[in-house]
Symmetry: C2
Subunit: 234 residues, 2 copies
DNA sequence: ATAATAGTGTCTCTAAGACATTATATT
DNA sequence: AATATAATGTCTTAGAGACACTATTAT
């Protein structure tokens, strides 16, 4: 039997197979705190509880495509930072059956989330505090997420911190034009500690990746700062 | 219908599902070059070609357990560094059917690989060169790996380099006791460039993670160096 | 003795933190 | 004028690279 005969005669149903899903951790920054997008589940199991948005992976979609679709459908988002995070495959992580979840990790400036209607309760932003990576409602109540979604969120925050210094994740949380103060604030929220202003400025401008726009911010009652943008794919 | 009724009545065969495999990238260092473990495929497709060792994920094994089993069965290895790398899910990456592969990434000192019988052609170590992450046989012939295994190997080397400075990956490539020269050599092979000896020594000893054993190496025709070990989970 | 590496000391350069000073907008 | 932050300069400290020097082993 040659290879093409083998493939033609191969029976894909010979072995039992797990289901595969993608789950999305969409992080943003609001009011000097990290926030994660949750949606209320409309089906069993864990119906009416808040969980990460997700979807089963159909046979004709790559994992990246499935994640992009979830970002579009459940969050209604424009293109932004999206990368694969980690794959969670514990045998009993879903009470229905064996489900392997490929988690994805997205970032968006809070301004881009504004158009989502909070009255539909489709979107629950929650405060994120460090020291164990707990998830809280805006009223300060601690949430226990269904499945292993708490662990998935914690993994995403670890990844965000690890990538802060050498990647563009901070810029994905800001609008296209931003001040150095806003950029420093993003870094401080992610790291959970204050940073030295002159050193931060020198380091950021020293990367050569920032470009002054010539414009300034306005609307504050103090000296306006220069607006910068990220240079395109240098 | 309550939740337990729902779960009991859930039909897992309602949707078509992909197959899930784990594939293992086992890296080691020999003769001042990175090497990756390949096995000759005994089945279609790509029969008799060398590829990464792997296995389908059965319903009762976690992903980590499946990867450990592959490491044990196909490589016959003692416990070592093993972590999840990335999940590859292109629709046509396997000509048979939809297969999603969770790649794992293992490290082992070359001395621990010695007992594998190369006459069985079950093990083909290949040279790894940078600048595109090519895989070569020991005779210098470039190999094109089946499936997307070339891309998986490249991803593993990227990960290895990224983790070199802040994790224990270098020690996973060395025996329990090693000299600072051997440790520096591991770093140099992974980075592909020479390092400054005094600075390297100061930096390594400054981490406080190295412990002198009081013993020295022997067998060389030059001054023997102190043997160190990695401190346990400080 | 010679060869080859171990291990250390010195000098320089760069980057970051701490602190202070001026500059400039809104109210 | 008062206020809050922008933007910059100075000083100090920590770490790494370059280079050189001595120390120690096998042959």
């Amino acid at each position: 039997m040659n290879e093409s005969d083998f493939i033609a005669s191969y029976d894909p149903s010979a072995f039992e197979r797990p289901s595969v899903t993608v789950d999305l951790v969409l992080l943003t920054i609001r009011d000097r705190s990290l926030q994660v997008l949750l949606v209320e589940r409309t089906e069993h199991p864990f119906i009416h509880q808040f969980a990460l948005p997700g979807s089963f992976v159909p046979m004709d979609e790559t994992l990246d495509e499935a994640a992009q679709r979830v970002l579009r459908d459940k969050a209604g988002m424009p293109p932004t930072f999206l990368e694969q995070l980690y794959t969670f495959g514990d045998v009993k992580r879903d009470p229905r059956m064996r489900v392997i979840s490929v988690a994805y990790f997205a970032l968006l400036p809070h301004s881009a989330l504004g158009h989502i209607d909070p009255d539909h309760r489709d979107l629950a932003t929650v405060n994120f505090t460090d020291g164990g990576a707990g998830v809280f409602t805006n009223d300060g109540v601690r949430l226990t997420l269904p499945f292993d979604h708490g662990q998935i969120v914690a993994t995403a925050v670890d990844r965000l911190r690890a990538k802060l210094d050498w990647s563009d994740v901070a810029f994905a949380l800001l609008p296209q034009e931003f001040t150095l103060r806003e950029l420093q604030e993003v870094h401080e929220v992610i790291l959970g500690r204050p940073l030295n202003k002159p050193a931060f400025r020198t380091r950021m401008l020293g990367t050569g990746r920032l470009e002054p726009t010539g414009r300034q911010e306005s609307g504050h009652r103090f000296r306006p700062a220069e607006l910068y943008r990220l240079k395109v794919t240098q």
